[in-house]
């Protein structure tokens, strides 16, 4: 496999630096033994990731009896009834709607409050700036789970249980640190001359922020919004506590409830799991760049 097909042109002195760790012009791995190994490794990891997902999708088309008798193979006949049954139930769509509404609300609030604060942190020198900034930055160190119990007590006191705001407000608060840090980094890259020019033209401080800075920061705002939406969409702990009324349940809570309710109908539960995955994966497909950009920026820039 290895020697035979190597083209003379390719085995130039370039070969030396093209090793494992090189990001450089590695040989097209197909012809070398190392290449085969690499492919095998990537395939194995790919199977590790993909098999559970495929298993769920395929199992959703089986009956539970079929699934226990024949766990791997394709279904003897593809029965969409599990999927169609869930899709025609009001509960599933209501949960999707609740999750979407809460995610959008959280993202709007987080980004709005963070953008204002990040603007102040990025562009003004004022006393106490570092203290306040450190305060927000410290928020990154506190896991959500730490605050969930007292939050519940607090929300009950405010009468925010069974109210979407009871989820939106805390989620937005916990989203602030990361969002402020990313946005501050971005706002800093916008040259000060621009603000001076705007001010000369009679633009107020807020006018500059609203009409010039925010439109320029659209990519960064997109990134942080995507992060906020995904975090909110996947949150389980808080909605679990805040919503006792099923009409407010979000999709993660719904999945858990569904599993409890139909625990022996494996194929049906897996179909529900698959349908619950679809929006998240679709969103990932659309916003992959923002999501990954935001996560790596959040981890490295700060």
């Amino acid at each position: 496999m290895s020697g035979g097909r190597a083209l003379p042109g390719r085995t130039s002195p370039r070969r030396a630096p093209s090793g494992r760790a090189s990001a450089g012009p590695a040989l097209a791995g197909r012809t070398t033994a190392g290449g085969v190994l690499r492919h095998a490794a990537v395939w194995a990891i790919g199977a590790f990731v993909a098999v559970p997902l495929l298993y769920a999708v395929i199992s959703g088309f089986k009956t539970t009896g079929d699934l226990t008798a024949n766990p791997f193979g394709l279904p003897s006949d593809w029965r969409p009834s599990n999927y169609s049954g869930i899709l025609s139930s009001g509960a599933f769509w209501r949960q999707i709607g609740n999750s979407a509404m809460i995610a959008v609300g959280t993202a709007l609030l987080t980004v709005a409050a963070s953008a204002l604060a990040a603007f102040a942190f990025a562009r003004y020198a004022f006393r106490g700036r570092e203290v306040f900034f450190t305060l927000f930055a410290m928020g990154l160190m506190f896991p959500f789970a730490v605050a969930v119990l007292p939050l519940f007590v607090l929300l009950r006191t405010f009468g925010l249980l069974d109210n979407p705001l009871g989820v939106v407000l805390p989620q937005a608060a916990f989203g602030l640190p990361m969002t402020i840090i990313i946005l501050r980094g971005f706002f800093r890259t916008i040259p000060a001359e621009l603000e001076e020019a705007a001010v000369m033209d009679g633009c107020g401080r807020f006018g500059f922020f609203w009409r010039i800075l925010l439109p320029m920061a659209r990519p960064a705002l997109g990134t942080v919004s995507v992060l906020a939406i995904v975090t909110s969409w996947n949150n389980f702990f808080l909605p679990l506590l805040v919503f006792t009324d099923p009409k407010w349940q979000t999709i993660p809570v719904g999945v858990q409830q569904f599993q409890g309710q139909y625990s022996t109908d494996y194929a049906l539960v897996l179909a529900y799991v698959v349908l619950a995955m679809v929006p998240a994966l679709a969103f990932y497909a659309v916003a992959e760049r923002q999501l990954i950009g935001g996560l790596t920026a959040g981890a490295t820039k700060g």
């Binding site: 766990p71 937005a172 702990f237 599993q259 490295t300």
Partner: protein
């Protein structure tokens, strides 16, 4: 993350702010500086108020509430009255389940650092090479990160179902691994490792992405220079790539530890902490006492300890592990910005 933010760029910044040809000067109000300060403060306040209010109400106040209520024996209703001082804390550290939580947390942290992160790093190195379809692999490996822990947990609960699940069927007849059949989440000795396996499935792609970003910021000239000096692939990796990846690795360790401290959803959905507490985490214990047994004061003490563990870890980590990154920022992370 946040931790390298304020690296002495403040003097530069405020100097820049001061040198800015302010409006004042154009209007001949050089002397009006104090007045401008106040106006600055006024407008800066408006920018900060929404974020500060949210943050104070829903992050700081809850932490204070937890601190306060943890000093009472309190069922969660009415004002806390039965003051017990540090009684909840002494009870906590006498409780074998809670002490077990700490050990299990440490177990997950150690496994993450020893297995999950190296696995992610290996994958990143693999995908950093020219490989047909590597963009597809990257997208696929990251995909589980986008799913919620609940969905992941329910899915793997099905896969590891004793007898009927996919895992048992897959291992049917495989030597050695065969012994795992029927155990997974339902045996005390395998429940926590199984949780870890699912964590790895869900999170290795995230760390891989971080490493890929780090790897791509390493200038290829450095590696080529090492190669010309006769360093083989392993030595190039060990002595060039790895050190230059240091800051990324340290951040990823940090995120992994914080994630392990607060682990709840996944455990709650798969095992609820069982069997016999063998996969219970601090957050699960807190939930049990706070929301199932209505010992809210005691559960508050658990929250406080979680808070303290995160805080102490963060501060120590920042002090000893991340501090170096601030100095090295110019050579390594700086390139990636």
């Amino acid at each position: 993350m946040t931790l390298s933010v304020e690296t002495g760029d403040r003097p530069v910044d405020s100097a820049r702010a001061r040198n800015r040809p302010g409006r004042g000067r154009y209007r001949g109000r050089e002397s009006a500086r104090p007045a401008r300060r106040i106006r600055d403060w006024a407008s800066v306040t408006w920018f900060l108020v929404p974020a500060l209010l949210l943050f104070a109400l829903f992050v700081l106040v809850p932490i204070a509430v937890a601190l306060y209520t943890s000093l009472f024996r309190w069922g969660g209703f009415g004002p806390p009255e039965d003051f017990v001082g540090l009684g909840n804390y002494t009870r906590l550290f006498d409780d074998p389940v809670f002490r077990g939580d700490l050990w299990r947390g440490l177990f997950l942290v150690v496994l993450s650092i020893a297995v999950q992160l190296p696995f992610a790093l290996g994958t990143a190195v693999l995908l950093n090479q020219r490989l047909p379809g590597r963009a597809v692999y990257r997208t696929l490996f990251f995909a589980p990160y986008v799913l919620s822990e609940v969905v992941t947990g329910v899915l793997f609960g099905m896969i590891f179902l004793p007898g009927d699940g996919l895992a048992d069927h897959l291992l049917d007849g495989v030597p050695v691994l065969d012994g795992l059949a029927g155990r997974w989440f339902s045996d005390p000795s395998t429940a926590l490792p199984t949780v870890f396996l699912v964590m790895t499935w869900k999170y290795f792609g995230f760390h891989m992405m971080l490493y890929l970003a780090g790897l791509q910021s390493i200038p290829s000239e450095v590696l080529e220079a090492a190669a010309i000096d006769g360093a083989g692939p392993w030595r190039r990796f060990r002595h060039v790539t790895l050190p230059l990846l240091g800051p990324t690795l340290r951040i990823s360790v940090f995120l992994s530890v914080i994630g392990s401290i607060q682990l709840f959803d996944l455990v709650w959905v798969t095992t609820s902490g069982g069997p016999t507490h063998s996969s219970e985490t601090m957050a699960v214990t807190m939930f049990q006492f706070g929301f199932k047994r209505y010992q809210v004061g005691y559960a508050g003490a658990i929250s406080v300890v979680m808070f303290a563990v995160s805080l102490v870890f963060s501060l120590l980590y920042q002090r000893f592990a991340l501090r170096r990154d601030l100095r090295g920022a110019v050579t390594s992370m700086g390139a990636g910005r």
